[in-house]
């Protein structure tokens, strides 16, 4: 019988990359302690900070919000209703339910009500839905944090996300991205909050186990747009390595932060300007999100004009 590393009772979960197994109470203790250590080691925030937590309704972001609440931090959730059919409807319902059950504040932004649901953006810009989604999320996370005075924005990126992103950045030598990749991104513009990833050392398996043990009702279904996503291909490669060499992902990410990242520091993008439309940080006259919206509006206008002409005659 596999025994818990801490209390020697029957283990319920095995954490291979730490060569350890835990019973349920000891795993929850271990998980929370790991998160707390990451927060303290990288000085992500303190109990005096107001933290905006980006929550999708999936296991990672809800586990993050849950553990930050349990650790006593001051948090408010931010959820974007992306407008991706039934998937988004369920995601929003589970996020709202989580907030209600814990009596915590949740800010929800309905992209569909604003006319810029993700399928609309993808359809009118010929961009992959994931690219439009990423741009939209980043914009609203930054905007809501700034407009509501949050100094910290926390996301549920886990070890697998970070390892896959690192592999992708290395495979394509994305030196600007490598310079910025890490658990903390300090603000380089007055409208940016500090961006932090308290789960960056915790595997996707561990966050799923934490959510299961804590009874968190998260959306199990995958986003329909993620099928064939390159991130999944990188994760698959890394999981195959991990199966034969436990600890590979953690070493890859930790050693990059310790020994590799500084080599790319000269490749940083520098400080952004301000978008002339929305005022948010931008590397051109318009930020990526305003460019996206403008493209949609232009193409929607050209779509509607012939119809209006034929319909009105």
């Amino acid at each position: 019988m596999m025994k818990c590393k801490r209390c020697r009772s029957k283990a319920e979960v095995q954490v291979r990359h730490h060569n350890a197994a835990f019973c349920r109470p000891c795993f929850l203790f271990f998980f929370q302690r790991q998160v707390q250590r990451s927060i303290e080691k990288h000085r992500m925030f303190t109990a005096q900070d107001d933290i905006l937590v980006a929550v999708s309704g999936g296991k990672d972001s809800l586990a993050l919000w849950d553990v930050l609440i349990e650790l006593g931090y001051r948090t408010v959730g931010l959820h974007l209703a992306l407008g991706i059919g039934e998937y988004s409807r369920i995601s929003t319902a589970k996020t709202v339910d989580f907030a209600l059950r814990r009596d915590v504040r949740l800010i929800t932004i309905d992209l569909g009500a604003d006319g810029v649901a993700i399928p609309t953006l993808a359809r009118f810009t010929n961009r992959p839905a994931c690219a439009a989604c990423g741009t939209t999320k980043r914009h609203h996370f930054d905007r809501v944090a700034f407009e509501n005075g949050f100094t910290v924005l926390a996301t549920g990126h886990n070890l697998d996300d970070e390892a896959a992103r690192l592999l992708g950045n290395v495979m394509h030598w994305q030196v600007h991205h490598l310079a910025k990749q890490g658990p903390v991104l300090e603000p380089v513009h007055e409208r940016f909050a500090r961006k932090v990833k308290p789960l960056y050392r915790i595997s996707e398996y561990e966050t799923a186990v934490y959510a299961f043990f804590r009874g968190i009702d998260y959306i199990i279904d995958e986003c329909p747009n993620s099928e064939g996503a390159t991130q999944l291909a990188y994760k698959d490669v890394l999981n195959r390595l991990e199966a034969v060499m436990p600890g590979t992902k953690l070493t890859f990410v930790q050693d990059f932060l310790k020994s590799g990242r500084h080599a790319f520091s000269a490749s940083s993008d520098g400080a952004p300007q301000s978008c002339e439309v929305c005022g948010m940080p931008s590397f051109g006259t318009l930020c990526s999100y305003c460019r996206l919206r403008r493209e949609v509006e232009r193409r929607q206008a050209t779509w509607k004009t012939p119809r209006a002409a034929s319909g009105g005659g």
């Binding site: 596999m2 319920e12 979960v13 996707e204 995958e222 986003c223 993620s226 996503a229 999981n239």
Partner: protein, 64 residues
């Protein structure tokens, strides 16, 4: 045993009792990419699932 795969919502049956690690190997699933759930508890790789048990194998990898 009856196995429910999530999020695929697919059900399969396997004859006899098996170790969890052997079930995952037979299904081509890598350790650490799924949770194996029996009732309201997790089952570790070395545990045995009985022939008349029902388990859920839930993928934990998400992407996009």
């Amino acid at each position: 045993m009856l196995i429910t795969l999530l999020p695929q919502r697919k059900q399969i049956e396997i004859e006899g009792r098996r170790r969890v690690a052997d079930i995952l190997c037979q299904l081509g699933l890598l350790p650490g990419t799924v949770m194996v759930i029996r009732g309201d508890t997790l089952v570790t790789d070395e545990e045995v699932v009985e022939a008349n048990d029902a388990i859920e194998i839930r993928t934990v990898i998400s992407g996009g």
